[in-house]
Amino acid sequence: MSSDKEELEVSIWRGDDAGGAFEDYKVPAQDSQTVLDVVSWVQQNTDPTLSYRYACRVGMCGSCAMMVNGVPRWTCRTHVKKVLDGKKVTVAPLRNLPVIKDLATDMDPFFDKWVKAGGVHHPSKTRDDPIEPINPKSIARSEADTGIECINCSVCYAACDTVTGNADYLGPAALQRAWTLYNDAKDADQQTILDAVSGNGGCHNCHSQGSCTLFCPNELNPMKAIAGLKRATATSLFKRKK
């Protein structure tokens, strides 16, 4: 344990969608302390009305993402010592999403776009058919595998400047999901997926700035997935099938 006298200066955004401001708190520094530990300490010891969201605390559920010093991060997997600016750290709700209260954002727009991007399975068989064997080394399966570790934390969505400027843009996570399904041999409707990502807010709005790939805590590459969708939609325009 560090000295009990050592304190962190923590600024936490308090408010709702109508407005708010940063409030400052003093939090005792501890060894191996995560940003989520810091936020929890404030809620448990200083202000029980502080609202925030978390579940697993080990980087599996994707619910504790927040802006830490202006950067989207999983707070449960971010050691506070690695992000401290002197003794200071700021914690704010995820960017590009409506705020419900304090650090808790409304994730509905994020998940609505997931569905809008064709991110639902289109079955190719019924439950009575035998299970189709899939070659794990096929090119399409390898491509699909690159995106399936996404846990919907919305870090990429918060990092994306195109989402900030264009509210209709589907965003990196939803488009990566579409690309995964497009490459899934068990998905029966690839053209529906391509049509879903070719509209006003579709993959063609991406500027390839790469913030999604840079900040993804799972080290996935949504920018590459979006580039794949751009290629696939352009090809389908001429061929009208994959």
Binding site: T162, G165, S198, G199, N200, H204, N205
Partner: protein, 110 residues
């Protein structure tokens, strides 16, 4: 805001502009080697269907390409949308087309 149609149009016009730009620069470098007056340049371009098509297609490509690009900037940076955005896009396209077309006509018409 930027759908498949506008995206493809912007990429295709970029593909058209790239070789035309290189061709323009190459001809400029080649043509001025021994000095060249405006009258001599006009002597070669006026009445030339080839140069009319060369610069004419460049002007059309630029007008479409730039209008779509500025449309994106206006929407994402200044939140312009709907009819105002369409009016802006078409205005830029037509202004560039008129200015460029006038210039092409000036050097290629007899």
């Amino acid at each position: 805001m930027l759908d498949m149609r506008l995206y493809m149009l912007q990429r295709i016009t970029a593909l058209i502009m790239a070789p035309l730009t290189l061709g323009h620069i190459a001809v400029m470098i080649y043509a001025i080697q021994d000095g060249l007056t405006a009258a001599e340049i006009l002597g070669r371009t006026q009445g030339s269907v080839l140069w009319f098509l060369f610069y004419g297609s460049f002007v059309v490509a630029v007008s479409l390409h730039a209008a779509i690009g500025l449309r994106v900037i206006l929407h994402e940076t200044f939140a312009v949308q709907g009819k105002a955005l369409s009016v802006f896009t078409w205005s830029i396209c037509l202004i560039l087309l008129a200015m460029g077309g006038r210039a092409v006509w000036a050097v290629t018409a007899v």
